[in-house]
């Protein structure tokens, strides 16, 4: 009402004709507003307010889901603006780069993805009960038996190998070499030495497994005085002979 008063005052100031005020000349029956809602409902029932389908509206087009996505797109714009404002304060160069990863995606990837996943979800479905085709108890026994078998076989080979080494070593140790050699005839020994390249140096013979270290001082004690005299006499004569020849 205050606005009406203001408008009238403005009009009075503008024109004297309007100074006296003008009443609205149109008249509406008192029952009009009282019955308005009822009248509209009656019209709707009669179908008088249904828009005429034959009327052609101008061919305006709206993108699909425009109104359903409107709130989201406005929110996105606000958030993008925030990010952009933020960057401009400490890394403005980044605002000039497109905010979209440049990688390629195979054609129809997202359409096909659903099918691919459907297969997997069926497999992983919690509703699907997986029934084993093998009796679980027998299956466990079979696994245990195979493990035991494997360990036993492995153990057999390990122990068999070590015992065969020990056995062969023991058998070699127990051989009576001297007795065996005596049984062999001289002809056979000669044939063996001729047919086999048996090369043994004096060193090989001394440094054998069973050879004891030779101590010359100890060894000389075992030689008798007569044997020594005989040795010195032989050596002395041989030296005299050599001098005479010279």
């Amino acid at each position: 009402m205050e606005r009406r008063e203001t408008i009238l005052n403005e009009l009075k100031a503008t024109s004297k004709f309007l100074d006296k005020g003008i009443d609205m000349p149109f008249v509406v029956s008192e029952a009009y507003f009282k019955n308005l809602s009822m009248d509209i409902l009656k019209d709707i029932e009669k179908g008088e307010h249904v828009p005429n389908k034959n009327i052609e509206f101008p061919n305006y087009s709206i993108p699909n889901n425009y109104f359903s996505n409107l709130s989201n797109s406005i929110l996105e714009n606000i958030q993008n603006k925030e990010v952009s404002d933020e960057l401009s304060s400490f890394a403005p160069t980044l605002n000039s780069i497109a905010k979209k990863a440049p990688y390629q995606v195979p054609d129809n990837y997202f359409n096909d993805f659903t099918l691919n996943t459907k297969v997997q979800t069926t497999t992983y479905s919690s509703e699907t009960k997986v029934v084993s085709i093998v009796n679980k108890k027998w299956y466990q026994i079979a696994i245990a038996a195979s493990i035991i078998g494997f360990i036993a076989t492995l153990g057999y080979f390990i122990f068999e190998k070590s015992s065969s080494i020990n056995a062969s070593y023991a058998s070699y140790k127990s051989v009576d070499v001297q007795g065996s050699v005596q049984k062999v005839s001289d002809d056979d020994l000669e044939k063996y030495l001729n047919n086999n390249d048996v090369v043994t140096s004096s060193t090989d013979l001394i440094i054998g497994d069973d050879a004891e270290e030779v101590n010359p001082k100890q060894e000389i004690k075992t030689v008798s005085d007569n044997e020594l005299k005989q040795y010195l006499k032989e050596v002395g004569e041989s030296k005299k002979n050599v001098k005479k020849r010279i």
Binding site: F90, L94, F113
Partner: protein
């Protein structure tokens, strides 16, 4: 048009509409999750494998989803964990140094069909690979997805202040790389 998360969850909990609801969830989130993963692992094949794993985990875990957080946040968290696990495993498998791992990622980027070293968006991708993994995640979520820090905080379980600082450092490092290369 996509259904809202509340409707999708109700449909998923109904045994007769469970599968169709799950398909709708995939349709609704597949693209966002794909890009979230792709920007971290670069290769399409790795991304595809991981996206499959993410949705398998969703299928298994959605019955127990307590709705303390939004479905979107929960899905992003699964995808993020999947990314971090994958990158960790790749690092362990690699016999080379961290630097070689970075070079490997850069080589994967350069091997992309559309790669153009002169274009800023590719330089940006190369620069992002220089960041530590978690900083890379923060940068990608903020820069490409314009994700508010509040949401990011729920996904990465880190305070908003720490995320802001991390993003700030990441953006500065990237800008330096772009300006110097």
């Amino acid at each position: 048009m996509h259904l809202d998360d509340r409707e999708l969850l109700d449909l998923f909990r109904n045994i007769s509409t469970k599968e169709s609801a799950f398909e709708a969830i995939i349709k609704k989130f597949q693209e966002r999750l794909y890009w979230h993963i792709r920007k971290m692992v670069i290769s399409h094949d790795d991304t595809n494998d991981m996206l499959q794993n993410v949705f398998i985990k969703v299928w298994k875990g959605l019955d127990n989803f307590r709705e303390d957080s939004q479905l979107y946040t929960w899905l992003y968290r699964i995808a993020t964990n999947e990314c971090l696990t994958f990158l960790e495993q790749r690092k362990k498998k690699s016999t080379f140094s961290l630097e070689d791992d970075e070079n490997g990622m850069s080589n994967t980027i350069k091997a992309d069909q559309g790669f153009d070293g002169n274009k800023l968006e590719w330089k940006l991708q190369l620069a992002i690979q220089k960041l530590p993994e978690r900083q890379r995640l923060v940068f990608n979520l903020r820069y490409f997805d314009a994700m508010p820090y509040e949401k990011m905080s729920k996904i990465l379980e880190t305070s908003e202040g720490a995320l802001k600082a991390s993003y700030h450092h990441a953006a500065k490092k990237i800008e330096q790389y772009i300006l110097n290369n």
